[in-house]
Amino acid sequence: MEIIDILLAASFWEAAIRIATPLIFGVLGALVCERAGVLNLGIEGIFTAGAMAGWMAVWLGAGLWGGVLVAALAGGFFGLIHAILTVPLGLSQHVSGIGVTLLATSLSYFTYRTALPDVSSPPRIIPFQPLDIPILSDLPFIGQALFSQTAMTMLALVLVFVTGWVLYRTPLGLAIRAVGDNPSSVEAQGLSVYGLRIGAVVVGSAMMALGGAFLTMSAFDAFFFGMINGRGWVCIALTVFASWRPGKALIGALLFGAFDAFQVRLQTEVGAFFPSQVFLMMPYILSIIALIVVARKADYPKALLVPWFKGQR
């Protein structure tokens, strides 16, 4: 009975969508990169950079949407580094991605510490506020669960449709998908394989950074060390789970968010019987299970991880 009560509460779905939001940005970003044939393990660091840069910009007075833009630019910058190393230079996508994560994380921490040398408690900004849309926000249930989220959550949901539309309904999307499956055919059409791949990685990384920015500018109001805490890696797992489709990415992130919101509520019910760490492990365990479930039929982009060089047949 109690479980049903939890699942039927609007506040539960409100939390689930809030938890899902950074993952939606992250999975969309990762799938754009991977559709073009580039695995981007820089994601964890790019989340950190987006969280720090966006927050810092707002803290310096750029305004919230200015912060979002700065976060996206920071993500694009680190994406460009990864893209140059892995696309024209064709270096190991695994190692370059880890390198970008280490670089983006340490640079973010260094910048934060240098700008704010001796603060004992992190300074706060005024984050995005819950929307108050006439009529919609007053609807029963869905008004609280969906239409009282912040503007960044709405942006994430819009991005799902935009990404899906671009990938499946435009010539550009066709080219991006082709460059991740069969780059030589794209070159034969007179399109630039390098240009498409680099562009996809830069744009995908900018989307990832928005996931980080959501954490410091919407879910919380400050930047903490270690706040990303594996969210980026979870997104890489969810991308496989979503079979590289934006719609399924949304469903995967929402399922994940629902599960996470559920375990937090379960913890208050039965927390006395289990150590808190058991609950904290759940998201990571769930991600691994999700990977195992889809592993057999996972349809990886065919040219994922495979470098391509100009003039190669």
Binding site: L89, G99, T114, P117, V240
Partner: protein, 356 residues
């Protein structure tokens, strides 16, 4: 137009010089963040050098730092050779440390020559098992090991935290979540009086030499290299890819587990969740700087350890964030990647012909 031409045979100067140049270049690049932080650059570099090499004490500290880095560097090097992307050395390190604590805090007691091998075996086994799991998932079911090993790092750390607040908690720790101390006979003894550098360094050096011989001179070593270079061809020539992968996983996870044993029984004396400041991840940098050579790992671990100890001491002295060390280490990974490219390819600048 820029063109890349493959080099047929890069000479030894290029092969060995490039990682050194990449490391130096990364250190020089650190001048930019230093300048932006408003630090006196020349002084900062001077302080970094004296911080790592200025005295017997600082060199001992540097070697103490290098010890786990050699082991996690070897763990990454052997795995990456077989293209087993083990990014989970951090978790394997903690499992190794925890196994050492389970065995080495009084459950059994004996002379050092029994206890030290006992905790080493326990730690290596625990680390190995932590990687064999994801490896089996990869070979049997096609589950990407990068993501599973990465996620396991977080699971293990929470698991360690849980054990330190529960079954392994030291009742005498005044409420801190830490384990009971390792008993004296299982402690890795210091190599120099009143210094921290300990037997773990010798273990790490022996492990590096042993691995070098193993990779170069044994059939298994040959099979590992063959699988790494071309798994399909290796399979065709009768090598069992699955068996080789599991062997690699046992070695790699075991080495990372040993790093945990060395830290817990040599440096710290007890287990806490801040045992490793990311030695598992830094091991990847160490391995790449070493171009995956076991002997090279020793040199690159010394370099990374010097950066950490030198930059830490410099940042304390002039008040620059100690994240500078992590920044230099990350930059040296990216520099050595680009350097590796330049050893394999010549860069040519062609002038485009203009019509007319």
């Amino acid at each position: 137009m820029i063109r890349f031409e493959p080099r047929s045979n890069p000479g030894p100067v290029l092969v060995y010089g490039v990682p050194v140049f990449a490391a130096i270049f990364a250190i020089l690049l650190a001048a930019i963040p230093l300048a932006l932080a408003g630090a006196p650059i020349i002084d900062a570099y001077g302080l970094m050098i004296t911080g790592a090499f200025g005295s017997v004490f600082s060199t001992s500290e540097m070697l103490t730092r290098a010890t786990p880095l050699i082991l996690t560097g070897l763990a990454a090097a052997i795995a990456f050779r077989a293209k087993l992307w083990n990014i989970g050395a951090e978790g394997q390190l903690y499992m190794g440390a925890m196994a050492a604590v389970v065995v080495g805090t009084g459950v059994i007691d004996g002379p050092s020559w029994v206890m030290i091998p006992a905790i080493m075996i326990a730690g290596a086994l625990a680390g190995a098992l932590m990687l064999i799991g994801p490896t089996l998932l990869k070979t049997r079911m096609g589950v990407d090991e990068v993501v599973t090993t990465l996620l396991l790092n977080f699971i293990v750390l929470l698991f360690v935290q849980m054990m330190l607040e529960g079954a392994l908690k030291d009742p005498m720790s005044m409420g801190w979540p830490q384990s009971e101390p390792i008993i004296d006979s299982a402690i890795l003894p210091p190599l120099l009086e009143r210094m921290r550098v300990h037997l773990g360094l010798i273990i790490a050096l022996v492990a590096a030499s042993g691995l070098a011989v193993f990779v170069k001179r044994t059939v298994w070593g040959f099979e590992i290299r063959a699988v790494g270079e071309n798994a399909a061809a290796a399979k065709f020539s009768g090598i069992s890819v699955t068996k080789t992968m599991i062997l690699v996983a046992a070695l790699s996870g075991g080495l990372a587990g040993l790093a945990g044993v060395s830290e817990v029984a040599g440096t710290r004396g007890y287990l806490a969740t801040d045992l490793s400041p990311g030695y598992g991840y830094a091991g990847i940098v160490v391995a790449m700087l070493a171009r995956l050579s076991p002997v090279g790992v020793i040199i690159s671990a010394l370099f990374v350890a010097s950066v950490f100890v030198g930059a830490d001491s410099m940042s304390r002295a002039i008040g620059v964030s100690s994240y500078l060390a992590d920044l230099i280490v990350a930059m040296s990974l990216l520099c050595v990647l680009i350097g590796g490219f330049l050893t394999r390819f010549k860069v040519r600048f062609d002038r485009k012909k203009t019509a007319g």
